[in-house]
């Protein structure tokens, strides 16, 4: 199993492409956007893998639209390949928006190729996707999974407590409908933003600011989630001549929240050193947690 997926795109814009006539792409319609959004929505986490994460389902969603854009078999194959590279984001805020953005960039690229102009490079498409997927994952996870879902559950839980099946059905339906709807809205918004973004990218405009801003928000939300969801505390006690010391109490005097933070920092630091080797990190972390908890250190 390849444990080290590379995110870099193949950078070889073949000069040959402009020589053999490339057919004009069909224009993308709202229906195409819906198809691609639905494809991503449907396949979403079905093909989850450790090395590509959600790339397969992202590619799955794009297939019908890419077929309309690249009548040339070679370009179509290349577009499939580039969207199978490592990709991970949250379904609506991330995947919806990026389906739209990506399609607008692909459309610009397809048109330019057909007209023999300088196309948006594969790299550019990839960088935009990769730059935005992380921040939007952070935002989307906190909002969709972390907030919207549980608000609906909390609202209707009293039904469930009374034995009424609406307590299960209503939160499911509300969540399904709400997220599908605004996910599609994000797709369309991403598509129209992408058109201007494409220009911005070319002219080196405020794109960096937007990515920075989203990065801040994503990292910030991760900080909030880390503070609220990671629960590691020490169960270690030791005694010096009869007096019992509770390590967790001492740690809280020094720095409340130190242990959960330490866990995140260690994994993050591992990724920084070794690349995004998720499986290994998972194994090491699980191993460490098991060993430490067997001895009641945590």
């Amino acid at each position: 199993m390849s444990d080290n997926p590379t995110v870099e795109a193949t950078n070889d814009e073949p000069q040959a492409t402009t020589e053999h006539r490339i057919p004009q792409p069909d224009a993308l319609t709202n229906k195409d956007l819906m198809k691609s959004w639905f494809g991503w929505w449907w396949a979403n986490e079905v093909p989850h893998t450790f090395d590509r994460m959600l790339a397969p389902s992202f590619c799955f969603g794009l297939i019908p639209s890419l077929q309309k854009l690249y009548k040339d078999k070679d370009e179509l194959a290349k577009s499939f390949q580039r969207h199978l590279l490592f990709f991970n984001t949250q379904a609506t805020w991330g995947g919806g928006t990026l389906t739209g953005v990506t399609l607008s960039l692909e459309e610009a690229r397809a048109k330019a190729l057909a007209n023999g102009e300088e196309p948006i490079s594969e790299d550019m498409i990839n960088n935009t996707k990769v730059g935005l997927m992380g921040p939007l994952a952070g935002i989307g996870d906190s909002i969709d999974s972390g907030t919207v879902q549980y608000i609906f559950i909390a609202m209707f839980l009293p039904f469930a407590k009374q034995g009424n099946f609406l307590g299960a059905l209503l939160p499911f339906l509300c969540f399904a409908i709400a997220t599908f709807t605004y996910g599609y809205y994000f797709t369309k918004m991403g598509y129209s933003l992408g058109r201007s973004a494409a220009k911005e990218i070319m002219t080196g405009g405020r794109m960096q600011g937007i990515i920075d801003g989203l990065g801040i928000l994503g990292l910030y939300m991760m900080g909030i989630l880390a503070g609220q969801y990671i629960t590691i505390r020490s169960f270690l006690k030791f005694s010096i001549s009869g007096k019992v010391f509770n390590v967790n109490t001492i740690l809280n005097q020094i720095l409340p929240g130190a242990l959960p933070l330490l866990a995140v920092i260690l994994v993050y630091w591992y990724f920084q050193r070794q690349g995004l080797k998720i499986t290994r990190a998972l194994l090491y972390l699980t191993g460490a947690l098991i060993v430490l908890s067997i001895f009641y250190i945590i």
């Binding site: 194959a77 991970n88 992380g134 921040p135 469930a160 699980t286």
Partner: protein, 258 residues
Amino acid sequence: MHVTLSVWQALLIAIWVALVESRILGFATLTMRFSPLMTGMMVGFIMGDIKQAMIVTAAIQLVYMGFVAPGGALPAEPAIGAAIAVPVALLGHMSPQGAIAIAVPVALLGSYLYQFRFFLNTFALKPMDKYAREGNARGLRFSIIGIPALISFVLFIPLIFIALYFGAPVISGLVSNIEHGTIIHVLNSVGGGLAALGIAIIMQVIGKKRLLPFFFLAYFMSVAFAKLEINMTIYAIFGVIFAILYVMLSQKNASENS
């Protein structure tokens, strides 16, 4: 507890779990997987006692309020927990609290099953690269949806079926073994700590080391203000404001009029 499920009941529940855990019903399966409610309802429907099933499931739900899975790492599979615990509770006329005692360890075990599905996918999806190279949309589609769906069904249906059909006594035994003592402590610790993985993945994917101060700012805000129980949306709004201000100030045109 010698009463057991019929073959059909066990099979239907197993298929339901496979549908949910394969995620084949689209993004909507997220909430089916994160919450025990829909599974509890289906079990009640299949076993003919929706009312009691819902009451038991509502109790289980309370344990799992607020779980998120950044980067895929959900610390437990509530749906699997409910699929096993609710039938056992209905058959054994157990209290909701007893059902929780079964659901929690089962859900923990279930999360390792889900990880295993990931693991299998990682190998089994390789054909998609070939189809992509060939520009073969049909093959691509099949390998992206068909293969992993198949894997999930082959993995979950037999296991859950066996657990349910032969399982009530086995599970009770298993559960009472691990309920107290070290095993449950270990499982809890792993569950509580694995959230760190998903968060670190997203941090790595965002990739801007320069902006890490905002991670620490948020982390220690949530620690320092814990007593105030500040709503997550408000935290998010602060995040948006910080992001906007930072970007405004870091761009040269900051002092322009608007």
